[in-house]
Amino acid sequence: MKDYFAGIMAVLWKDVLSELRTKDILLSVFVFALLSLVIFSFALRTDRATVAIIAPGVLWAAFSFSGVLALNRAFATEREKGSLEGLVITPVPRDVIYFGKMLGVLLFMLAAEIMLLPVFVVLFNVALDVPRLLLIIFLATLGFASVGTVFSAIAVNTRSREIMLPVLFLPVVVPVIISAVEASARVMTGDPWDSLTVWLQVLVAFDVIFVVVSSLVFEYVLEE
């Protein structure tokens, strides 16, 4: 058991170290999400009445698209240097590799999303109940990372990988997006906790189901 976690930590440490050196994922996610927010501000009417209605949707649209970007980068380095094979030959169970990569992607996406929140508050003039919103962001991003890691590993091995990832990923995470938007909307209008529970339950259910399913199928993506 100790070995198992040590393996996951080793993969995670390696990804975090690489990312800190290049800031590749963090920058692309942050800048792209920022651009999305700005474009949405122009594209949608943002007078005081409507901004409260569209703000949660805009936030999650920005997070969803920039999430695709982050996932695209998740296996990019491995692909370029063939290091994915290097991971495959290590004497660790395949789900160790899955969890290591997934936690890395989760961390980077969360970091970029949290950096983006102040920008969102400024551009859209919303008041935030930060702890509750952070919970929603965590659960939804975990959902993204859970299936995203599998799809990223698949897409990176395909022609037209830039289009394959969003095509596979976005329809599957529709429940996550719906739930995140609904829950965030209630947080932003200060609704009581009860109104959020059904959406949080969907998020938790999605996370649990797909972390388990993804960790089981991941080995088939690694094999040849």
């Binding site: 599998v150 698949i154 394959m164 599957v172 429940p175 719906i178 199928v217 088939y220």
Partner: protein, 238 residues
Amino acid sequence: MTQDSLPGRTTLLSRVFLALAFIGILVSLALIFLWVPDERQQGAVYRIFFFHVPAGLLSFAAFAVVFVASIAYLWKNNRAWDMVAHSAAELGVVFATLSLTTGSIWARPIWGVWWTWDPRLTTMLILWLIYVGYLMLRAYGADDTRVSRFASVVGIIGFVDVPIVFFSIHWWRTQHPQPVLAPGGNFGLTPEMTVTFLIALAALAFLSAHLLLERLALRRMSADVKEIRQALSAEEGA
């Protein structure tokens, strides 16, 4: 079941299914236009339901086949299962397309809109997107020997997602009420309608079975040709 057990030609069974489908569809059309009464609220327009709902059900059944065949392929590593999964996915997308277009055609005269965010219809849309993605993966990864495994993974994840998609859209809809586009909701089935529905369902089911068998036969023939080609070019080189 191995690849070699798949027939590489049209079988008698397949022809029987086609004949049953042909008769069934003719009979259904006759019943739909000549026998069943108008619906109380929707008038004559509702008749499209007799093909709309079976198309949706069969598409869902096809994706269930993809799910099972994908698991079987990953477990047994037998290309026959992979061919079944691929063929069922194609069939599923065809019927999903039919379901979506008939749904849209149905919504227009009743509600005045081309689309309602009805949970069943919207879930079908998401399913359509997921399995179109599956087919795109097959197309883009065709040169890669791993694509069968990748597609199987997508087939499994996609199907597991279906109930979650359905419920999330269902609850979302209760927050933002939209027109309901389904039987049992605001219209009851008379006995004539039930009989016609079952006949139409059976007819389309036979059609699906026939199409699946034919598609499998084509795949088998394709694979054989490819193998022969490779054997020939290997001999030339040696």
